[in-house]
C-alpha cells in the first residue's frame, strides 16, 4: 500500500514538473531555444498569486486568472524584448541560451528587490480533507495536481492538433522557413508559443503554491532544472513526452527518497538525465531530428 502512496506522491510533484516541462518543450520545438528563464515564470506566477490572493484578498478564481494572464504577458514581453531580435536575425543558439540565463537572473533579482529574499507564505489555496481509501491516506493536493496536469495536456494536444494556430505551430516547428513561405506568420506563432508555455507555468505555479504554501525568488531554479530534465527525458519538443518525463522524474524522485536514501533523490534524477543522453539523446518520445541540443 505504501508503495502506491509513494508512486502517487511522485506523480503529485511530477505533475508540477510536467507543466513546467511542457513550456520548455514547446519553446524548444519552435525556436530551438532552451528557455532557462522558464523556471522563473513559475516564480512570477507564485508571486502574482500571492499578491492577488493574500495581499489584495481577491477571490481565488480571480487570482488564478490574473496569475495566468500575468505569466502569459511576462512570457510575451520576455520574448519580444530579449529573444525576438536574436530569433529574427538567426543569431547563434549560444547567444539565445546566454540571453535566457540573463533573463533568469534578472527576474530573480527583480523579485528579490521588490519582495525581499525572505520566503513568503501563502495559505493552502484549495483546502481539502485528506482522502481515506481503506487504510491509505492520500493528500488531496496530489490528486488535484495529477488531474489538473492531465487536463492541461489534453487541452494542449487539442490546441496543437485541432486549431489553426496549433497547426501553424506544428508547421513552424517542422520547418520555419517553409512555413513562412506558406504564408504563416512565424513571429506570431513564436509569440503565441511563449504565451501558452508561460500560461501553463502559471498553472504549475498555482499548484505549487497550493502544495507547498511557500514561495521565494529562487524557487524557479531547482524546479526549472528538474523540469528541464523531464523535458529532455521525454523528448524535448514532444508534448506527451514532456508530461511522461515529468511523471517519471517525479516518481523516480519519490521512490528514491522512500526506498533508497532520502538524500540521494537529486543524484538519481540527474543520473537519469545523463543515462538518457548517452543512450537515446532524443528522449523517450522524441522524433528523429538531426539537430543536437
Amino acid at each position: 500500500m505504501e508503495f502506491i502512496e509513494q508512486v502517487l506522491n511522485g506523480l503529485g510533484q511530477g505533475s508540477i514538473f510536467a507543466l513546467v516541462a511542457l513550456g520548455y518543450s514547446m519553446v524548444y520545438g519552435i525556436v530551438q531555444l532552451i528557455n532557462f528563464a522558464h523556471g522563473d515564470i513559475i516564480m512570477v506566477g507564485g508571486y502574482t498569486a500571492f499578491v492577488t490572493f493574500i495581499t489584495f484578498g481577491m477571490p481565488l478564481w480571480l487570482a488564478v486568472i490574473i496569475s495566468i494572464l500575468v505569466c502569459a504577458a511576462v512570457g510575451l514581453i520576455i520574448e519580444r524584448v530579449a529573444y525576438h531580435r536574436l530569433i529574427v536575425h538567426n543569431a547563434a543558439r549560444i547567444s539565445l541560451l546566454i540571453t535566457a540565463l540573463g533573463v533568469s537572473i534578472f527576474l530573480q533579482n527583480l523579485f528579490m528587490l521588490i519582495f525581499g529574499a525572505e520566503p513568503k507564505h501563502i495559505s493552502t489555496l484549495f483546502p481539502m480533507e485528506t482522502i481515506k481509501l481503506g487504510n491509505t491516506e492520500l493528500s488531496s493536493n496530489t490528486i488535484l495536481n495529477i488531474v489538473v496536469s492531465v487536463i492541461m495536456m489534453i487541452g494542449l494536444q487539442l490546441l496543437v492538433n485541432k486549431t489553426k494556430i496549433g497547426k501553424a505551430m506544428q508547421a513552424s516547428s517542422e520547418d520555419a522557413g517553409a512555413a513562412k513561405l506558406m504564408g504563416i506568420n512565424t513571429n506570431q506563432v513564436v509569440a503565441f508559443t511563449f504565451m501558452v508555455g508561460s500560461a501553463l507555468a502559471a498553472v504549475g505555479a498555482i499548484l505549487y503554491c497550493n502544495t507547498y504554501s511557500q514561495i521565494k525568488p529562487t524557487m524557479g531554479n531547482f524546479l526549472g532544472l528538474k523540469a528541464f530534465v523531464a523535458a529532455v527525458l521525454g523528448g524535448i519538443g514532444s508534448i506527451p513526452g514532456a508530461m511522461l518525463g515529468g511523471y517519471i522524474i517525479g516518481i523516480a524522485d519519490s521512490l528514491t527518497k522512500a526506498y533508497v536514501s532520502s538524500t540521494l533523490n537529486d543524484a538519481v534524477v540527474f543520473g537519469i538525465l545523463i543515462l538518457m543522453l548517452s543512450v537515446k539523446p532524443t528522449g523517450i518520445m522524441g522524433g528523429d531530428r538531426r539537430e543536437k541540443v
Partner: protein, 382 residues
C-alpha cells in the same frame, strides 16, 4: 623606456606609502571598534537582522551610559548573506580595514565556524550570539557563544519528550546538508535511545528540496508519538503543513530554529503546529521588567517583534562589553580571560561559561496557542 621606468618608480613609491599607511597603529583612536557579522539579506536574514538590530540597541545604551573604558563603542556590522565564503571575506575586511578589537558574530552555524577558523589565527576575541554547532567553540580558546549548542538542544528535547510528553517512539526528519540540523538530530537520536525510546525513522533531505511527501508517508506508516524537526523556520513551515495534509498526528518537536515560524505559516494553516513543542532560550511572556522593557523598546525602534535572536544579540553585546570593561584594555588575551569569567544576569537568565565556552542556563519550552506562541515551562535536563 624612460617613461616606463619613471612610472615604475612612482608605482613602487605609491606601494610603499600604502604599506606604511597599512601598518599605522590605531591604539590612540577614541572609539573601541567591535566588528559584527550577520546575514542581513538572503534566506536566513530574519536571524541576522534581529541580532544586528538588538546589538545596535545595546551599543546605543552602553554609549549613552558613558561607553566602556571611557570610550564610545563603534559597532561595524557587515552583511555576509548567510554564506561562509562571504563571511570570511567580510571578517578579513573588519580586521584589516577596521582594526576591530573583538568580533560579535556570526549568526548561523556554517559561516560562524568558517570565521572562527580565521579568528583563531588572529587570536581575535569572538562571541557568537546564535551559532549553535558544537564545533564552533572547539575551534579555539578565543571563541565563545551566548546560545545553547546543537547537541544540548537535541538531548533536552529527547528528555522532554520522554519525561514530560510520555513519548515511547520518535521519528526524525532533518536537513543533512546543514550542521545545525545534523547536530541536533544525532544528539536527539542518541539521547532518545538512552532514555528507552524507539526511533522508528530517521529521514533526511538536502537543501533546496521542498517536497517531503515521500519521507512523511514513510513516517506516517510507523505512526511515532513524536516527530522531531530540527530545522530552520521556513522548512518547518513547509514540513508541518505537508505533514498535516498527509494526516500525520504525531506531536512535532523542534529546537530554537523554530523561532519565527509563525511568520512563515498562514493563519489558516496554524493547526499544523497546534501540537508542537520547541525549546528556546527566553520567554516573551516572562514578567522580567528588563525583558519587557527591551521587547517594547525593540518594537518601538524597529516596528518588528523581537525574537530569540534579538534577545540573544542584546545579551551578547552586554557580555562582550562587560568583558572588555573588566579586562581594562583592548588586549586580546585580557578580553578572552575576562570573557571566561563572565557571570552575567541578562534577559536570557544568568549566563556563565563552561570549559568549552558554552553557556550554562535553563531552557524554555514553547508551544502554540492558536496563532501565537505559548510558554509551557522552564526545563533543564536534571
Amino acid at each position: 623606456m624612460r617613461r616606463r621606468k619613471l612610472f615604475s618608480i612612482v608605482a613602487a613609491a605609491a606601494l610603499l606609502v600604502g604599506i606604511a599607511a597599512g601598518c599605522k597603529k590605531e591604539d590612540d583612536s577614541d572609539t573601541i571598534k567591535i566588528g559584527g557579522l550577520a546575514p542581513l539579506t538572503g534566506d536566513v536574514s530574519q536571524y541576522g537582522i534581529a541580532v544586528n538590530n538588538a546589538v545596535k540597541m545595546a551599543v546605543k545604551e552602553i554609549n549613552d551610559n558613558g561607553g566602556i573604558l571611557g570610550k564610545q563603542i563603534e559597532y561595524i556590522c557587515l552583511d555576509e548573506k548567510g554564506d561562509p565564503d562571504e563571511a570570511v571575506k567580510a571578517y578579513r575586511k573588519l580586521v584589516e580595514n577596521e582594526k576591530i578589537v573583538a568580533l560579535l558574530g556570526d549568526v548561523t552555524s556554517k559561516p560562524t565556524e568558517a570565521v572562527a577558523q580565521k579568528a583563531k589565527l588572529d587570536n581575535m576575541p569572538m562571541i557568537t550570539a546564535s551559532g549553535t554547532a558544537e564545533s564552533i567553540t572547539l575551534v579555539g580558546e578565543n571563541v565563545f557563544r551566548a546560545c545553547f549548542i546543537d547537541p544540548y538542544q537535541g538531548q533536552l528535547m529527547a528528555s522532554y519528550a520522554s519525561k514530560k510528553l510520555g513519548a515511547k517512539t520518535a521519528a526524525i526528519l532533518y536537513d543533512t546538508s546543514d550542521t545545525y540540523s545534523t547536530g541536533i538530530a544525532d544528539a536527539f537520536e542518541d539521547a532518545a535511545k538512552d532514555l528507552g525510546m524507539t526511533i522508528t525513522d530517521k529521514e533526511g533531505y538536502t537543501e533546496g528540496n521542498t517536497d517531503f511527501s515521500s519521507q512523511l508517508t514513510k513516517i506516517r506508516a510507523s505512526n511515532p508519538d513524536v516527530l522531531m524537526l530540527p530545522v530552520y523556520y521556513s522548512d518547518v513551515a513547509l514540513i508541518a503543513v505537508q505533514a498535516k495534509n498527509q494526516g500525520i498526528t504525531s506531536k512535532l518537536l523542534g529546537a530554537d530554529g523554530w523561532d519565527g515560524v509563525l511568520n512563515q505559516i498562514a493563519e489558516s494553516d496554524a493547526d499544523a503546529i497546534a501540537n508542537a513543542y520547541f525549546c528556546s532560550q527566553y520567554s516573551a511572556s516572562s514578567d522580567d521588567p528588563d525583558l519587557q522593557a527591551f521587547l517594547s523598546e525593540y518594537k518601538e525602534t524597529y516596528n518588528l517583534e523581537a525574537n530569540m535572536f534579538a534577545v540573544l544579540g542584546y545579551d551578547t553585546m552586554y557580555i562582550l562589553a562587560n568583558a572588555i570593561e573588566k579586562a581594562g584594555s583592548t588586549d586580546s588575551d585580557a578580553i578572552i580571560n575576562a570573557l571566561k569569567e563572565t557571570n552575567y544576569d541578562g534577559l536570557t537568565g544568568t549566563t556563565t561559561f563552561d570549559e568549552n565556552r558554552n553557556p550554562v542556563r535553563q531552557a524554555v519550552i514553547t508551544s502554540f496557542d492558536g496563532y501565537s506562541y505559548k510558554v509551557v515551562e522552564n526545563y533543564s535536563m536534571d
